[in-house]
Symmetry: C2
Subunit: 124 residues, 2 copies
């Protein structure tokens, strides 16, 4: 059992890529990840997991599509704010400036919703 706390800033300092989550801990079959957002990600959904977003620094937007429609709602999250995208809900993360995010999904979830385009799992 490791007896060191996980320092999120220290983990975030280890990489610069955007949309490339790093796994920093495991929790009940989920990856606890840090990730940097900048620009606009692709619309996607996860059939098997809710998607947990907590902003550590900066601001992100989450575009959400209501089930069965093309209606888009947008949630704005600043540092210290979180949002859980329910399983199956189409969403598109965005950030005008670089933002740092704590992300949680079931281990094995493709971050893009599609194994073909997903970032590889990287543990730091």
């Amino acid at each position: 059992m490791p007896i060191q706390a996980v320092d999120l800033a220290e983990k975030l300092a280890q990489f610069n890529e955007h949309w490339a989550p790093r796994t920093v801990a495991e929790f009940n079959g989920h990856d606890v990840m840090v990730v940097k957002f900048q620009g606009e990600y692709a619309w996607h959904s996860h059939a098997d997991t809710d998607d947990f977003f907590l902003v550590i620094a900066g601001q992100i937007l989450l575009d959400l599509k209501a089930a069965g429609t093309q209606d888009v709602s947008t949630v704005t999250l600043n540092a210290g704010q979180l949002y859980i995208v329910p399983q199956g809900v189409e969403h598109r993360p965005r950030a005008a400036q670089e933002a740092q995010v704590l992300l949680m999904e079931r281990t094995g979830t493709p971050n893009s919703g599609d194994p073909a385009t997903a970032a590889p799992r990287r543990v730091v």
Copy 2:
């Protein structure tokens, strides 16, 4: 589907008690909670869930007992640091000064490890 972000500081401003978690969101069958620690909690463990601690403000200590022994290790967590206590591991949270924590456990988990002494589930 709610389209408001959850603001952790706003939720934490709604109560003053220590060791009395408030559920602010749900994630894959888990309660996402905010809680204020001050003083020393009881030793306990959770047979069915890992225990997620992320410090939002202040400092906490987690005493951990190695399986099958009385050896105690202590993890210190400051703001921006997290630690996952694995399922089944005896632990005792402490905080010399009031600290604010994001906590996650499976929904229905008694926070004290014992339904008889657990804080009631409260959603804010």
